[in-house]
């Protein structure tokens, strides 16, 4: 499977009379976009704002972030099984609006939503302070059930991203990147001397608004399976998560999974990137046992020499992480795990809820309990009503002057467990 990702570089976003891209500027017809998103009867009102890097703007509560992409050639469309039909995606050509993102906010869906500051100390912790953001403020109709609310806002993000990306469909991209994974046996034959490396991606599937979807399927209902890495670049995996902001994988993270991109960079040079095994993080012990059994079984079946495992979220998924690690290691396959830490505000507590000697190679995204003070911003998109109650916030987080003292847990993407952030630690 071969995919060409065409990057259309977006340097600026402005409102205009027509949605189009010219000289690196994305113009957005605000009324047309609002009309499109308002078609959902679950939403009482929709507004759109723009937030640019360096502006004194705070966006909260941020639910999802989506990168606009459009299929130019090849089967299917972006977000298969969700916005497009369930065709297998990941081949042909896809254009990406690089440097911009769609963000969803409004009345909070779940209590675990995030903060994105476009400037100041908080901006350093989130990748979305560097993107030109088209922010949807979605307010639900009265009495809407939480899960319907979640779905409505999730779809709003995808629809807006697809709408904006359409403007790039016929454009010649500024840069092109090519990713290719051969069918299994051919791929093994091509690099017989390189170590065979796979990626086990754990998807957040605890339910109760902690969900991830694969080709439209609620991933808590899957058994682990194999997916071509390029499929995720076309939106095969999307976020429906209202889990802690710092270590949830937004749809933007899924589309740009740095583990996949880095493995491709080394593919054919230092390693043979064989493929991706996706698995889940369910709330029944039997599910945890079954899924980790299967991820280990598939890793063995693929004849892998080494595996990178990434987690999503924290707490009981630490057990899924350790089970995956332990069971894959028991097959004689080396593992490296990527996680983050909840080691207390002083960093002195045990970092993960579970542990095992097999987990002897660990990459951390940072300690989510670290406290940060965020100065007031000139403008707030969304609302500050939930600052004291979002995960990472506490009574008195929001001061009268508009400044905020929170754990970095509250900042979208701060301790991302795919490594889509800048924090880590070294120990020997």
């Amino acid at each position: 499977m071969r995919l060409e990702l065409g990057h259309v570089l977006i340097k600026d976003v402005q409102f205009g009379s027509e949605t189009k891209i010219e000289n690196g500027v994305l113009y957005v017809n605000k009324e047309e976009l609002i009309k499109l998103i308002s078609e959902d009867e679950h939403l009482a009102s929709v507004d759109v704002e723009i937030a640019k890097p360096g502006e004194s703007v705070r966006i909260t509560p941020v639910k999802d972030v989506v990168e606009p992409r459009v299929k130019v050639e090849g089967p299917g469309g972006v977000f298969p099984g969700i916005l497009s039909k369930v065709d297998v995606v990941g081949s042909g050509k896809t254009n990406v609006l690089k440097g911009c993102a769609v963000m969803t906010t409004g009345k909070i869906v779940g209590f675990q939503e995030g903060i994105v500051d476009m400037t100041g100390p908080g901006a350093e912790y989130t990748p979305f302070s560097k993107t030109n953001n088209v922010v949807l403020i979605c307010q639900p109709v009265e009495g809407l059930k939480q899960h319907d609310h979640e779905r409505a806002v999730r779809f709003a993000g995808f629809k807006a991203a697809a709408y904006l990306a359409e403007a790039a469909k016929s454009l010649t991209p500024d840069t092109v990147e090519v990713y290719e994974t051969l069918p299994f046996l051919e791929g093994i034959k091509k690099y017989p001397d390189l170590p065979k490396i796979g990626y086990v991606q754990m998807l957040q599937t605890q339910g109760l608004l902690h969900d991830t979807y694969v080709y439209g399927v609620d991933a808590k209902q899957i058994v682990p399976t194999i997916i071509y890495p390029t499929e995720v670049m076309d939106g095969a995996i999307v976020s429906g998560n209202c889990v802690s902001a710092c270590d949830k994988n937004t749809t933007y993270h899924q589309l740009n999974n740095p583990v996949i991109h880095d493995l491709y960079k080394e593919h054919g040079k230092t390693l043979n990137f064989v493929g991706v095994i996706i698995t889940n993080e369910n709330v029944y012990l039997a599910d945890k046992e079954r899924s980790s059994n299967w991820s280990a079984k598939l890793a063995e079946y693929l004849g892998l020499d080494g595996v990178i495992i990434s987690q999503e979220g924290f707490g009981n998924p630490d057990t899924d992480l350790i089970m995956n690690c332990k069971k894959i290691e028991a097959k004689g396959i080396k593992t490296v795990i990527i996680t983050d830490e909840y080691a207390g505000r002083d960093g002195a507590s045990q970092s993960l809820a579970d542990a095992d000697k097999a987990a002897d190679a660990v990459v951390t995204g940072g300690n989510a309990n670290e406290i940060i003070k965020l100065p007031a911003m000139d403008k707030v998109i969304g609302t500050l009503d939930y600052i004291d109650t979002i995960a990472g916030g506490f009574d008195g987080s929001l001061a009268e002057d508009g400044s905020i003292t929170v754990e970095i847990q509250a900042i979208t993407g701060a301790t991302n467990e795919m490594g889509f952030n800048k924090m880590s630690a070294k120990g020997f």
Binding site: L285, N316, D354, D356
Partner: protein, 78 residues
């Protein structure tokens, strides 16, 4: 909490869903429960069935409390 209470000389049964974590933290008597969001219940059951389930879990826990153990022991539901 499990360890501190036991340190004071009072035996403890840890009823929990994620048994591996309980084993890692060092509980001695463990009774596996239903699911993380509802350890001692099951919303899919009828109220009378759920009551019966709860009674069984508690009885199993009391049984575990009365049982001498040599080391970490998991008391699976019968």
């Amino acid at each position: 909490m499990v360890k501190e209470v036991e340190r004071a000389g009072i035996p403890v049964v840890h009823m929990c869903t994620v048994v591996p974590i309980s084993l890692t933290v060092g509980a001695n008597r463990i009774v596996p429960t239903i699911a993380i969001p509802h350890p001692l219940g099951d919303p899919k059951l009828e109220p009378h069935e759920e009551k019966a389930l709860r009674r069984k879990l508690v009885e199993r826990a009391l049984e575990a409390l009365e049982t001498e153990v040599e080391g970490q022991t998991v008391f699976e539901m019968k």
